[in-house]
Symmetry: C2
Subunit: 330 residues, 2 copies
Amino acid sequence: MNNTTLKQIAQTLGCSISTVSRALKHHPDISIKTREKIIELANTLDYEPNAFAVHLRTRNSKVIGLMVPTLSNYFYETFIASVEEESRKNGYALMILQSANDPVIESDNLKLFRQNRVMGLFACISAHTHHLDGFTKMIEQKIPVIFFDNVPNELSLNKVCLADEHAAELAANAIIQSKRKNIVALFGDPGLSITQKRMGKLNAILNQNKESIKLTIVHAVNSAEAERAISKNLSTKNKADLIFCMSDELLIGAMKAIQIKQFSIPDQIAVIAISNGFVPKLYYPEITYIETSGYKLGKLAFTHLMACLAGSTAIQELTVESILVKGGSI
Amino acid sequence: MNNTTLKQIAQTLGCSISTVSRALKHHPDISIKTREKIIELANTLDYEPNAFAVHLRTRNSKVIGLMVPTLSNYFYETFIASVEEESRKNGYALMILQSANDPVIESDNLKLFRQNRVMGLFACISAHTHHLDGFTKMIEQKIPVIFFDNVPNELSLNKVCLADEHAAELAANAIIQSKRKNIVALFGDPGLSITQKRMGKLNAILNQNKESIKLTIVHAVNSAEAERAISKNLSTKNKADLIFCMSDELLIGAMKAIQIKQFSIPDQIAVIAISNGFVPKLYYPEITYIETSGYKLGKLAFTHLMACLAGSTAIQELTVESILVKGGSI
DNA sequence: TTTAATAACGCAATCGTTTGCGAAAACATT
DNA sequence: AATGTTTTCGCAAACGATTGCGTTATTAAA
């Protein structure tokens, strides 16, 4: 690798390492003359500080960890893209690991994060994570952990979430406005916090509605299951006239079933989803959806982490508001 | 942070740091008795080696860099997911940066990679990268760079690519078999190596075809442009009867136009694309596509990098084969 | 009993920086 | 001229691990 070091610069210039170090960061103790000499040589030699040495000495790794169940997911990608952008701007490096929804891999990953002395961590826990030992251990070691999207139920943790209840509320209102009465609502894994929150709110609002709405709740953990469920429903005589999907993945499955049955949207069946915005725009008419921006969530999460690193100890649960994006599907 | 160190273990046990260090890695010089004592204490103290200290001393960072134009892209996602998987299995950490297709950010990123002493780099260059100085500097410093997907034209670089020509050939053959005669082919930025390769081959095969195929080539750099182009074409009286898209992004635009015009697939118009496989399966009928697996490409790239790190100096340009995945769109 | 061999461990240098503190040199003040 | 200030720099100790080599015990061989 043959990287130039402070020592080399010092030797060729006949001064001390500390002088070189200080000169390169414009320390007032160093005279302008020597400073310029040093900087010039450093430039021609392509000097790059060895991050490991710096971090070892300063105990400031400038590395942030990020863990998601999987990287192949449009929502996480936008979240990560957003966080990466901010990290780079602020001089942090991102270390990204995926848990594959496996608690074992998850805790292995936490060990890797600790070994690499990350200064903070963004974590979206897997659907099957029940004990948070690894996470709490980090928090005890003063490494702030910002949970995002699917977060633990435990109190007194830093969380940034989509405004799940609010999103469900927007969806519910749109459903009520549509006057449709036979609703099928697709939800994901019942163990997920986002499932619980979204389902609870939607259920509450639609059930308290004076007019008689028939709400059927179906759980599906992937597109295929969603497709099967909707396909089955659409074959019955008492079929739904509106389908709600709590996520893009379920929307994909539902749309597949609808397309195969050749039902026209929104005449024969209306569709509304909670989504990141990519999938709904693929169809025509575009699907009406409640936007849940991974991008905004990423910005929020980063700001929150920076605050923690700056010393803020207030535990907070923050949310980004949702908005209704009208398509033509309802 | 309060992390336990070798020194702390050594002091509480009354032995030397080197003994602790050796015991923890089962060095034969250390007796079994002391070794076990040390390992036990290390476990109860949650000892984790400080990666920075280790890397500084061993000059082996165990960090791999990865740069893509953007993270919000299904193809890159699968590539990254694949590389991350292998990295983790092999004890490497991944440092991921996006260039936003901006050569300036690109070279800033390279500096970050150098500062963090990455041992190797996966890079998909931006569409506007013309001088490779930063990259060649790394290569000179014995840091292997594996270019992937959109790669420089320069020879003697390590590259892993989709079998672009082969993919185009498969598409061309499928087009010929379809008997359609009025083809519109959508291609991306003419500056991209993948555009050139795919276009060249498709053009060559279709033009040498004895039967008279009318091939219209259109460049579009995003979905919106693709939609506009196809929409315009479908409004003419001499409209296309088959549309080829070289990427998912263009496919999305084309499909939007087709859906809006309410043309039925494949009766009124056939569609075929080169794709990673996610988007084509959203529609019904599913779009026939030539699969370009980011996942496989990632595996190949990783293997290639490992070979380079192991000392292989052979410059290679590797490709992953494509396959035709039949949908109902042609 | 002496010598040689081996097992088990510690010393100390090293990786490349950062930084508190002291020292010499230059300058300013009486 | 003597003293006090500043400016400008170097020394040396960290940060936490690795490792060649030397040093003791311990055991085996002669």
